[in-house]
Symmetry: C2
Subunit: 200 residues, 2 copies
């Protein structure tokens, strides 16, 4: 059986979105700075554009391809869906089953390219169970936003976290780890990460 993981960009001061996030400004003010490493890659261009590009195969590109490849299904929160619904291309950048945790019932919505959005109104456990079934042997990605990731973290349902720490201070916005009911209960295993940055 696969793992349940998240994979998010975060500023050095801990924000995964800037202030004023909403449809049309989905990552908030300054939020796109958290993802510039990804935007540059061929894998990202292909995912959004739906066609190969001539961008080079870099380490960053390989990292994103591995994340796409391992993901057999996606779970996301209602806000992320609302923000993405107006921004994603018709050929939505998932190409597998996506389970949206929401309190608004809606028929499944199939998009070009293999993505179908399912609207789950009976909670995070149900959404995850459906995603695991759809993913088969592959992993399930908890895509975001921060609130839904925190709900799964607090419930002890996430096996692995990936954070891409950006060399930027946002100073405001949405912090991934703020508001966990019991932060000490989240036991993390990894080496210490030694970061060095120059300041101008």
């Amino acid at each position: 059986m696969g793992k349940v993981f998240f994979d998010l960009g975060m500023s050095l001061d801990g924000y995964v979105a800037g202030p004023n996030a909403r449809p049309g400004n989905p990552i908030g003010d300054g939020g796109p700075k958290l993802h510039t490493w990804m935007y540059r890659t061929a894998a990202f261009a292909e995912l959004i554009g739906g066609a190969p590009t001539d961008r080079p195969a870099t380490e960053d590109d390989a990292l994103i391809r591995r994340t796409i490849e391992r993901s057999g299904a996606t779970v996301m929160g209602r806000n992320m869906f609302d923000e993405g619904e107006v921004g994603w291309p018709e050929d939505a950048p998932f190409r597998h089953q996506v389970f949206v945790v929401t309190n608004r019932a809606r028929e499944p919505w199939a998009r070009k390219g293999g993505t179908t959005f399912h609207f789950v109104t009976d909670g995070i456990d149900s959404a995850l169970a459906q995603a695991k079934h759809a993913a088969g042997d592959k992993d399930v990605r908890i895509a975001g936003g921060a609130d839904i990731v925190r709900q799964y973290l607090a419930a002890g349902l996430i096996d692995e976290g990936n954070l891409h720490v950006a060399p930027v201070l946002l100073g405001a916005g949405v912090r991934l780890f703020d508001g966990l009911p019991d932060p000490g209960a989240v036991k993390l295993t990894s080496p210490f990460a030694h970061l060095r940055f120059q300041i101008s």
Copy 2:
């Protein structure tokens, strides 16, 4: 001329000290978890104990030795000194000139092993100028706490930051980057850091 740098341990949720920091509990509740990688090293044992140990020469050990070697003088805030004064051994773990930013005048205090504490009552610019003079060609370390590091960051006087990110969530305490007057003015240069951790 040398660089001005800081070198701090930080939790994954951004804290450099836990809550309730005070003399006798200098890094706050849970704070020692931020530094376990360092406590294990031969370099740290030598610095505190004043004598060689039989601990192995690891990568972490080499990293700490480079930080010690590059440091020609140290600047710290009054709280860090107050907390350390009761905790450091008589043979204080600096072995160079230390400049304490404070509003309480006091005669220089020479310790065994080469450390002298100087109490600077005319501000951060003066403390840094004195430290640079004492360091000669070596670098100046802004040791902490968070408040004095932020003051130097806000003044644009720090060239390099080092953060050792611990696989732990503290959930409360002192965040390094909270309270900067203009976070966007701090321009950082470094690659994105890709962190992965397992959760149990």
